[in-house]
């Protein structure tokens, strides 16, 4: 039983190591890319849709409507980033039902990388939508003395994003491993099913929180415009 899949080395050649996190991350990326390529090869806009095209369309429409409801903006610029986060985390969590697969999200390296992506994306989207000065102005928003607290908040929410996903996924594997030693017959299956639910909810929450952070950094221009009209 290990709490860090980075330590499971699948292949080693000199200093070059492939641990299970890297291997399964690439597996998920390959499955997603190849699957999407396979589905979008033959798209049809009329007549009968293929069932896989239907699945992808339902998924994308759902993500779009969620982004629209959460941020109250058009989902266009945010859809690629937030949708990718959701689909990647959801697929890598749900594949945990495959025996022998270790979810790459149960390693702190993966979740920290995803959280750092969000940490970088927030100022990028903020500056793109309202300019450098307006974005930096937010940090001293109530008074100048709130600057350190705003910076700490920015860092601590990134840490929370990483540790939340890591803790949830790691606890799922640990609980199943502990239950296998106590009640090995039926009960671990129930906890696995619960783990699937937790994985999907965590993917949803990660994407929604990323969207909320990005929206809070990029919404102010419309609010400023509204204040100007009044």
């Amino acid at each position: 039983m290990t709490i860090n899949p980075d330590e499971i080395v699948l292949f080693q050649w000199g200093w070059f190591k492939i641990n299970s996190t890297i291997a399964y991350t690439w597996l998920v990326i390959f499955v997603l890319t190849f699957g999407s390529w396979l589905v979008t090869r033959r798209l049809s806009s009329e007549g009968k849709l293929s069932r896989w095209q239907n699945l992808l369309e339902v998924l994308i429409t759902g993500i779009k409507s969620q982004i629209r409801e959460v941020s109250r903006q058009e989902p266009g610029p945010y859809l690629p980033f937030v949708g990718t986060l959701f689909i990647f985390i959801a697929v890598s969590n749900v594949l945990a039902i495959v025996p022998g697969y270790v979810p790459p999200t149960s390693s702190l390296s993966t979740t920290a990388a995803l959280a750092i992506c969000v940490f970088i994306a927030v100022p990028v989207f903020g500056i793109a939508s309202q300019g450098v000065l307006n974005y930096l102005w937010q940090y001293i928003q109530p008074t100048f003395f709130m600057l350190p607290f705003n910076l700490i908040g920015e860092l601590s929410r990134t840490l929370a994003l990483a540790v939340r996903l890591y803790g949830n996924m790691m606890s799922g594997t640990i609980i199943v491993a502990i239950l296998l030693t106590i009640t090995p017959l039926i009960f671990p299956v129930i906890m696995q099913a619960l783990g699937l639910l937790t994985g999907l909810i965590q993917a949803y929450i990660f994407a929604i929180l990323a969207m909320v952070y990005i929206a809070s950094a990029s919404k102010t221009r419309e609010e400023i415009a509204k204040k100007g009209e009044k």
Partner: protein
């Protein structure tokens, strides 16, 4: 008492205390959040979608404090950095 024994006794006891106390607060908070959300849905069934979404995000935020305690517990038991100083 050997210092290795001391470190392991203290870290195991602290791990139990951490997860015990760390789950009390989030449990109370989550129960309160769910009960409020249920009564709001009972009052306004039309807004059930928004309430449920906000509830899930809020529950995840509350739960993350319990998850921090769990991570600390796991570090104390499985990846304690202080054991390396006393291992022969």
């Amino acid at each position: 008492m050997d210092s290795l024994v001391l470190v392991s006794v203290i870290s195991i006891a602290t791990a139990g205390l951490t997860i015990a106390f760390g789950s009390i607060g989030p449990a109370l908070g989550q129960g309160r959040a769910v009960s409020q959300a249920l009564s709001s849905i009972a009052q306004q069934p039309d807004e059930a979608n928004t309430i449920t979404r906000t509830l899930f995000v809020g529950l995840a935020m509350i739960e993350s404090t319990a998850i921090y305690c769990f991570v600390v517990t796991m570090i104390l038991i499985f990846a304690n950095p202080f054991w390396n100083y006393f291992l022969p």
